[in-house]
């Protein structure tokens, strides 16, 4: 109960801060509108207001503060505006509608999951190779690290174009970009996990005359499970980012990426923010599901948690 209260208190502080930030962010637009409606604002000239500090304007025109939370196209939308947009575009819209966030979410989710599956598979395979082969350790690991230093935003269009030229389009190119981001944490975590058994445990297997495969299945793999799940949680969030980035260069017809891009074309900040929140909620749910699977598997393995 106490922790619930604390969590709610933190949330309240964040929301209050957000509302407060809306005022200076939106004040100029609000004042322009008020002036057009014939109200008296200070300073009266639009040119003077352009150069004035936002906080000074707020101090001089306290009567418009409430209006900055319900601007039509705000610079920074207020929390309730985003919440209402989210409600309207998820619950009140038909799922098949192009304006439904559920519709866009499903598209982003499918490339996220496919990319996550590819990335995890690739990451685990690479990790197994790296742990068992010194050559792979020295040749693959540096490239895996280098791959993550290239900004994905620069790489994504190239991947789309190259794949398009060989006739691959649709879900797969986006999934590959998602996989590109998600394989790395899996490699790193899995390598660490597969190497986590201590010397004594490895020595014990040696005295049984166990071969490498038996050592892998009976000791290394089970030992790596907690590490694997930690990386999977990072990996799936990275995969979602990759899927969204992958939607941008294709002209962004559908998906959260499309909502973000369309929103910024038309200055629809509320739409941008609601798409961002939808993506964040989706990521949090995916991580939570992985956490649940982890608890189930580790409990079945008998590990005390």
């Amino acid at each position: 109960m106490k922790t619930v209260m604390s969590v709610l208190a933190v949330l309240a502080v964040i929301v209050a801060f957000w509302y407060a930030a809306c005022v200076p962010m939106n004040i100029k637009g609000v004042l322009d509108a008020a002036e057009r409606a014939g109200e008296h604002v200070t300073p009266a000239a639009a040119r003077d207001r352009r150069d004035a500090g936002a906080l000074g304007l707020v101090a001089g025109n306290t009567f418009v503060i409430a209006r900055s939370w319900s601007v039509d196209r705000p610079r920074l939308p207020a929390p309730h505006q985003v919440a209402m947009e989210l409600w309207e575009t998820t619950v009140e819209k038909k799922i098949t509608s192009k304006r439904s966030l559920i519709y866009h979410g499903k598209i982003t989710l499918s490339s996220t999951l496919l990319g996550f599956a590819i990335g995890t598979g690739l990451g685990v395979l690479l990790a197994v190779g790296i742990v068992h082969s010194k050559v792979m350790d020295m040749s693959v690991m540096p490239w895996a690290i280098v791959s993550q230093t290239i900004p994905i935003i620069a790489l994504a269009p190239m991947i789309i174009v190259v794949l398009y030229s060989v006739g691959v389009q649709g879900l797969l190119p986006k999934a590959i970009i998602a996989a590109y981001l998600s394989f790395f944490p899996v490699v790193v975590g899995m390598v660490k996990g597969l190497r986590s058994p201590d010397h004594m445990q490895l020595d014990l297997l040696k005295t049984y005359g166990a071969n490498t495969a038996q050592g892998f299945w009976k000791l290394r793999l089970p030992s790596s499970m907690p590490y694997l799940f930690a990386s999977l949680k990072i990996g799936i969030a990275a995969s979602l980012v990759g899927a969204i980035v992958g939607e941008l260069p294709t002209g962004a017809v559908a998906g959260f990426g499309a909502r973000l891009l369309a929103g910024s074309y038309y200055g629809q900040t509320v739409q941008i923010w609601s798409a961002l929140f939808a993506a964040a909620i989706l990521a949090a749910s995916l991580v939570a599901i992985l956490g649940l699977v982890e608890r189930l598997i580790l409990a079945r393995m008998g590990v005390k948690s």
């Binding site: 004594m200 020595d203 005295t207």
Partner: protein
């Protein structure tokens, strides 16, 4: 296959000469130096020792005298830097591949994700025993270490002493002729320790295993062993080898006998000499 062979070997041997000693472990001028230059540690220096089939050999000596290192050499977990070491006439590595060893470490080292029974099955799975055979052997050794009730429990549900018994059961589950035990009872209380010592002796008498046993306790070494190897550190070497005159049958109160006290005294003298030199 190997079991059949070794069994006929034993039978054959028994017919020819029942008392002849059959060397299992043979170390000649064994040396092991860890590292090099300034940081070199002479862990074993000119170690000569023969362990015969059916021997119960205890290694005793101050910390750092190379007891663990010697056991690890026998089990091919450490590579000697000089001298020769054979196990059953083979190199330690070949003997390991022939699954000659059961090793009990100081820490139980059970897999936390396996139940006690499953932990004991681990070597059996690796060595390819049939399912039925696995279950039969697990039940047997669980009974031997008095953990019948705990097969389905996970390691964290057991006390440290029980975990150690489980790890001994694990080493007993397959037919290794040589049991290497590195301070297996170090963490147990006196009563449990006495009890396990008795059980270990019974087991040894029944199975004709060869046992190498590291301990810091003089009474434990004298009570258990047919041969006591006293070692001293820097460099790690053998300072005395004592053949025990005690009979194979050993009730716990043998520890009050004159013969027992005399051997214990000699071991203590050996340890003291190693300390002052």
């Amino acid at each position: 296959m190997r079991d059949v062979l070794s069994q006929t070997e034993i039978d054959g041997f028994a017919e020819v000469s029942p008392t002849a000693a059959e060397p299992v472990v043979k170390a000649q001028d064994l040396n092991l130096i860890f590292g090099s230059g300034e940081n070199a540690v002479h862990a074993l220096k000119d170690v000569n020792l023969t362990i015969n089939k059916g021997d119960f050999v205890s290694f005793i000596g101050p910390s750092g005298c190379g007891k663990t290192t010697f056991l690890r050499c026998i089990a091919a977990l450490e590579q000697p830097t000089g001298g020769s070491l054979t196990v059953n006439g083979m190199t330690p590595d070949e003997a390991r591949q022939a699954r000659a060893y059961g090793y009990v470490f100081q820490h139980a080292g059970l897999y936390p994700w396996r139940t006690i029974a499953k932990n004991i099955k681990l070597p059996l799975e690796i060595m390819g025993y049939s399912r039925a055979e696995q279950d039969k052997r697990v039940a047997e050794v669980l009974k031997l270490v008095e953990l019948e009730q705990f097969g389905k429990k996970f390691p964290w549900q057991l006390s440290g002493g029980m975990q150690q018994r489980a790890s001994i059961a694990r080493a007993l589950a397959f037919d290794a002729d040589i049991l290497l035990m590195d301070e297996p009872f170090g963490a147990l209380d006196e009563i449990v320790r006495d009890h396990l010592n008795e059980q270990l002796l019974q087991l040894w008498a029944r199975t004709n295993k060869t046992i190498g046993f590291v301990t810091h306790s003089i009474p434990e070494a004298v009570y258990l062993s047919t041969k006591i190897v006293v070692m001293s550190p820097r460099p790690g070497r053998i300072t005395d080898i004592i053949e025990s005159p005690l009979p194979k049958e050993r009730p716990l109160d043998i520890r009050d006998s004159a013969a027992f006290i005399e051997i214990a005294h000699r071991v203590r003298e050996g340890l003291r000499a190693g300390h002052t030199s």
